[in-house]
């Protein structure tokens, strides 16, 4: 089970991306939960996820979001704006898997 948090603004447009990601996960046989949260809710609930993604419209908050994610050891990345725009769930799912594989390799090194 992969738990993804997407930090965004109102959660309106992100919910479309969430649907698309879940569809892609079903198609590729992954178990996935995705939640879209505001930056405040994210700060309170960062421990409940495996991967943190940042929606492009709040990229000005990127530094503080990344700092918190890194401090609790969660992989974090900005969603590509064009993938976000076209609600390309498959591409974002690939990004999640890539982030997770990176995190696992890092653990092995330690």
């Amino acid at each position: 089970m992969i738990r993804v948090l997407i930090v965004c603004s109102w959660g309106m447009s992100t919910s479309l991306l969430v649907d698309s990601m879940l569809a892609a996960a079903v198609a590729f046989g992954y178990e996935l939960t995705v939640e879209a949260l505001s930056a405040g809710e994210y700060a309170a609930r960062v421990d409940e996820c495996d991967v943190v993604l940042i929606a492009p419209q709040i990229r000005h908050l990127r530094k503080s979001i990344e700092k918190l994610a890194v401090s609790v050891g969660k992989p974090v990345a900005l969603i590509d704006p064009f993938h976000y725009a076209t609600m390309n769930g498959q591409a974002v799912l690939e990004q999640v898997l890539y982030l997770l594989s990176g995190a696992k390799e890092g653990e092995k090194e330690l």
């Binding site: 603004s9 505001s38 405040g40 704006p81 725009a85």
Partner: protein, 443 residues
């Protein structure tokens, strides 16, 4: 063309993004905005429903309802009418989340403090509810926000500090939490009550009646000129430009401006809804009448894109169509893209500015009824204009007129940008030999 574009992009990234980003990342603004969306908005929307029922647009129905109007308004007054009370909870709660500390306790404490700040100190049994009601809603928002911020900032500093009651480790955490909150609660209650006692020892004259002053009344009197100034064309212009500048660099502009202007928009809207005011610059003025199809009034662009010669724009157009109906346009903003795109940034700012100008003029000469009802920004264009104006069909006509204006202004810029994209796509489609040889293994 492309050199110039890259240079202006670099300029935007370097000089426009950092200050706008800094403004948007203020924790207090974010907390106010979250509080508004999560805690206050649902109550405002639900309450507005009763306001619509109590003031039907059909005269025959209105006379039928007239004897029951006050009864129907009760749910409105106890939801919409108490929004400052709930906002104080929301601000304290959301700020606590940003500060990564327990959030419910400061939220509840903030509500208590807000009530202490809003009721004159004295014999409460002699108090008329109707006298304080306006200051628990539209007129108390500033006090609600300030109390919310104060509460969380004080409570969080007491957590784990030596000025708090310490209990042995064997005591259950819930008991510890309750005692931890006790010291700041006593301190804050005493502070706000003392301040209110001092303020309400003064009186003022209103409608020939002597009334005790309270913190919200005092603050409203201080900020009244600002509310007045805010409800003006220059202020509307400034707000829409700031919104679109933020969106032009890919930051959620409506959110940032909402957090700053909300207390003013809501007190103007409340005056429109309850006291037959004629305020123009309110939340629906932007969400319902300017951002048609999403921030920047991008509805017509979606239509253009569906039939575009550029494959990228056609792809984006297909994805953008559904969300556009509900005024969501992130696919447009990041897909065309509008954000950080020197060509499209120009109309992206110019279109809403033109629409706001037209609408301000139309509302001010009374061609269309001023907005009185707040509704979710996702209500489709056409319906939303009718509802926002309390059932004036000319509200919908204005929206369609604005859409036509948007379509006209966007067209030349869209065509220019389309040409750029088509050229790029043609280059990408040329046979591989004519381009730089790709490394082995890459198609």
């Amino acid at each position: 063309m492309s050199v110039m574009m890259e240079r202006s992009s670099a300029w935007v990234e370097r000089y426009l993004v950092p200050p706008l980003g800094a403004l948007a990342s203020s924790v207090y603004l974010q907390a106010v905005r979250d509080a508004f969306i999560i805690f206050t908005l649902p109550l405002i929307l639900a309450g507005s429903l009763f306001l619509i029922v109590a003031n039907p647009p059909i005269p025959a129905l209105a006379t039928l309802i007239a004897p029951y109007q006050q009864d129907i308004l009760v749910p409105f007054q106890l939801s919409f009418g108490l929004m400052a009370l709930f906002l104080s909870f929301g601000v304290a709660y959301s700020l606590a989340q940003y500060r990564r500390t327990e959030a419910v306790q400061p939220g509840v404490l903030a509500m208590v403090l807000f009530l202490i700040a809003s009721l004159p100190v004295g014999d409460l049994t002699k108090l008329t509810f109707g006298d304080v009601l306006p200051y628990l809603g539209g007129q108390g928002l500033l006090v609600g926000i300030l109390i919310g911020i104060l509460t969380t900032e004080v409570v969080r500093r007491f957590r784990g500090s030596r000025f708090t009651i310490r209990l042995p480790k064997s005591v259950p955490p819930n008991v510890t939490r309750a005692f931890e909150a006790l010291v700041p609660a006593i301190l804050l209650i005493t502070l706000v009550w003392g301040l209110e006692w001092f303020v309400s020892s003064h009186t003022f004259l209103t409608d020939g009646k002597v009334q005790q002053l309270t913190l919200p009344i005092l603050l409203m009197r201080v900020f009244q000129p600002l509310v007045f100034v805010q409800d003006s064309y220059p202020a509307a212009l400034l707000e829409i430009i700031l919104m679109m500048l933020l969106w032009s660099v890919g930051i959620h502009g409506m959110n940032v401006v909402t957090a700053i202007a909300l207390p003013f928009w809501l007190s103007t809207l409340t005056a429109n809804a309850t006291a037959h005011g004629h305020g123009i610059v309110t939340e629906p003025f932007f969400h319902i009448f300017a951002h048609l199809g999403g921030s920047g009034a991008t509805w017509p662009l979606v239509i253009y894109m569906l039939r575009s010669r550029s494959a990228q724009l056609r792809t984006v157009g297909k994805v953008a169509l559904g969300p556009a109906i509900f005024n969501i346009n992130e696919p447009v903003t990041f897909g065309v893209p509008m954000a950080l795109n020197p060509v499209m940034m120009i109309p992206f700012i110019m279109v809403p500015v033109t629409i706001v100008t037209i609408n301000y003029f139309v509302f001010s000469i009374g061609l269309v009824h001023v907005p009185v009802v707040m509704q979710p920004f996702t209500v489709p264009v056409g319906i939303s204009g009718f509802v926002a104006t309390g059932g004036d069909f000319r509200g919908s006509l204005l929206q369609f007129f604005d859409l036509a204006v948007s379509a006209l202004i966007y067209y030349p810029f869209f065509k220019a940008w389309e040409r750029v994209l088509v050229t790029r796509e043609e280059v990408a489609l040329q046979p591989v030999e004519s381009r730089v040889p790709a490394p082995a293994g890459v198609r």
